[in-house]
Amino acid sequence: MATRYLGAAVRRVEDPRLLRGEGRYLDDLALPAGLEAAFVRSTIAHGLIRAVDASAARALPGVHAVYFAQDLGPAAMRQMPIAAPHPLLIQPRTQAPLATDEVCYVGQPIALVIANNRYIAEDAAALVAIDYDPLPVVTDCRCALDPSAAHAHRGAEHNRAATLTAHFGDAAAAFAGATLRLAERIEMQRGGAHSMEGRGVAAVPSPDGMGITLWSSTQAPYMIRRLLAAHLDWDESRLRAVAPDVGGGFGPKAVFYPEEVVVPLAALKLGRPVRWIEDRREHFQATTQQRLQAWDVEVAADSTGRLIAIRGRGVHDAGAFVPYGVLLPLSSLWPFPGPYALQALDLSLDVVFTNMVPTSPVRGAGRPYANFVIERLVDRVADALGLDRAEIRRRNFVPRGNFPYATGMTYRDGSKVTYDSGDFEACLDKAMRRAGYADFAARRVAAAKRGVRRGIGVASYVEDTGAGPFEGVTVRVQPNGRVHAVTSAASQGQGHATIIAQICADALGISPENVTVTSADTGALAYGMGTYGSRVAVAAGSSAFNAAAVVRAKALRLAASLLQCASDDLTILEGRVVRRSGPADTGLDLALLAAQLSGTPGIPLPDGFAPGLEATDYAPIGATATASGTHIAEVEVDPATGAVAVVAYVVVHDCGNVLNPLLVDGQILGGVVHGIGNALFEQMVYDSTGQPLSSNYGEYLLPLASEIPLIDIAHIETPSPHNPLGAKGAGEGGTIPAAAAIVSALEDALREEGARFAKHPVFPEDVIEAIHLGLCVREVVPSAGAGGGLLEIAGG
């Protein structure tokens, strides 16, 4: 079987309709007789609802209903399920779909207004009067475990949701015997997803009254169906969940939200379709995000720069509830020890409640946190010993040829965390060559002549990708010869349909334009998981590969029996099964074979053939595939203003076999830019009462094209042995080490001043402070604090 399309830079099959403006995102869906909804949300971070008055809202012309929890029944009043329960969760708190008495974050839904259109619904929502009794608020996770801290939940004894640990080897002994021991305090704040399309939910009662279809701008329709059916105590057969075109996800759209319960309940009660679209302010307030993680860590090393052990204690802001369990903080422990061979590790992470919107993974999840901690420590050791920052990494990498490599960590089930393949040194070498690392000194001197300080930073990473258990694909040849591939995989721009089309095209001797891919519909394929953790190209791609191979074999077998020859004598060219040698016109079109197997009344199928020229596969994915790479960033700093510009950026990336270089590079570019945002721009600011002060794009900065240098990308390919494609995930590797690389470069630029940075985001005022005071900037701006969270510029 030829691989003509897989591996090639095939243009996306998704593009033409999107370019024409013919995408069908949640708000574009035609919903005849549909109504539009707006939520009434808590305006305080913690309190009790004392009284509500919706009479004015209900009286507004065009308003069909205002529903509080009790109006929608017990399902709107009981706690929602946790997507991934965990035995270490001490307080497995989730919210009820609509708050009944206590509210725990600004933005928490209290009521739903349904009207003829969103304008009227918002008018009415503004007329709903709510009387609160405020309760004490906790907003700073760093002091949430102090005995004097306010409790995020009334009646709770403390704010601890869980304490997670990761350890191997004997860290105490390692530290006791080490030549070099360095301590650091590191704080990191990430931010929101800010997909350009916000969330949205549309619920359509079935015309036959048997159930409901839930359209959601989600990354995980199968998870939504499973959890919603469980929460409503319904047969899953009554519920169909579908993701239409989705305008970006990045993690927070893989959560099961209150809106996904309330909107269908309202639709059922009214007997009409109901749609709710999130506006940007709601995205800031009520969509999950990532916030602060703070660590006190130490690293032990020997005098040659060999890293021996890392230990430390951290705290993680979970927000008011844990709908995603502890998967996010766990994903910030798994990545230790990174690409380095360590003898010992001992980490403990307290996951704490605060009165802000819950946190859950945003592109990279916890991996960027772990990477930042590890890479800052590696830089510290290098600096303490006068070693080059790239060289120390080389000395500590798991050497090539040592794979599979067991890191010392274990998964929850006791199995060993193993890196399946990789060549960390090759990535570093290639990155250094492409970045002109050896010639940097000249660039620094030239920049100084222009009045700016230029620095270079290196960060390497490892990423567990392609997690199982499966993502399904059906490959079906239709009677007209076109292929229909159905996948459970949900896409938010990654181009999965193109990958699947490429695979089918190769297997069936057709071109990708002749493959239609439909996806993310629980009514179309029985099982699925969701899009997160850089897993879908591997999981769904493997299923497409297997299913298409079965379809190919079946086509050849049927043709062989009809042509009275051996399968091996046949191949498929341009949609036609033909003999490898001999006259081409005695072949059989796939269309004909498909029609044969579709069944003709009264005529049995050929012996030994099941109906349909099709196959369904759920490729079993066991171990994760290890992606890795190195980023090298250069920044220029204006010492007068503290402005930081990223002026050069090189990525060398190993995602195994590259399935489509256009798509992989696109994922890396987007990921790096997100990482630049994390490093220099993005921070959610709250005041001490838990009010979000970041609620629009004037207050929260996303990176624009003007902030981005030309990003150079090259690849190393170490195929994964764990899937038939030899591929690894590529969705998050661009983000994972970006903040570390940029902060490393920033420190390098300001070496002379002794300015150091052990946090991100880093703002110009931090740079000025570090330059003038020659100190290490560690603290992310506290959410509880003087100045209402606004930064004060040193020197006035």
């Binding site: 996306r12 024409r20 997909s195 305008g247 940007r280 181009g495 256009l662 987007g670 629009n696 996303l702």
Partner: protein
């Protein structure tokens, strides 16, 4: 409750007569009343640029305008960029060649801004293109491919349309 106003405008070359509430945003009018859902709403405060359309030949944020303000104007939306025969414009094709779109949500606005740029100045340099693209927020692509796509068209033909 305000009385609807009568407006008459041209959208993608077609004459449109409508009655709209004074407070109805142009973006909502295009999307809901004219069923032209290609123009997207990303922020409703004029920053992200997803809602960008051409208003009498100039890029404008349709989320920051009322439909009544478009009375007597010529509007071009993303649906009006392809040729008469439905062929994608040179810029649209270049976007696909260079993988300048992923989720596609910000894309219509970017296409409008870059089409306007290429119409006005047939051979803009990279810095000029980057400046225009920086009027849009994209969370997926990292912008680089959009700039390459526009540069490729600039090198090729004058107006970016087929």
């Amino acid at each position: 409750m305000s009385e609807p106003h009568a407006i008459a405008l041209s959208v993608n070359g077609r004459a449109v007569d409508a009655k709209v509430e004074p407070r109805r945003l142009l973006a909502d009018f295009l999307r809901r009343d004219l069923n032209l859902t290609g123009t997207h709403i990303g922020c409703e405060h004029g920053v992200c640029g997803a809602c960008t359309i051409l208003l009498d030949g100039t890029p404008a944020r349709s989320c920051l305008m009322f439909a009544v303000q478009a009375d007597g104007c010529e509007i071009v939306t993303v649906e009006g960029l392809a040729g008469e025969n439905g062929n994608l414009s040179s810029l649209q094709q270049a976007f696909s060649e260079h993988h300048a779109l992923q989720c596609g949500f910000c894309t219509p606005g970017v296409l409008i801004s870059l089409t306007s740029l290429l119409d006005a100045s047939p051979d803009p340099d990279e810095a000029t293109i980057r400046d225009v693209v920086s009027g849009h927020i994209c969370r997926c692509t990292g912008y680089q491919a959009m700039i390459h796509a526009a540069r490729a068209v600039a090198g090729r033909d004058a107006c970016g349309r087929s």
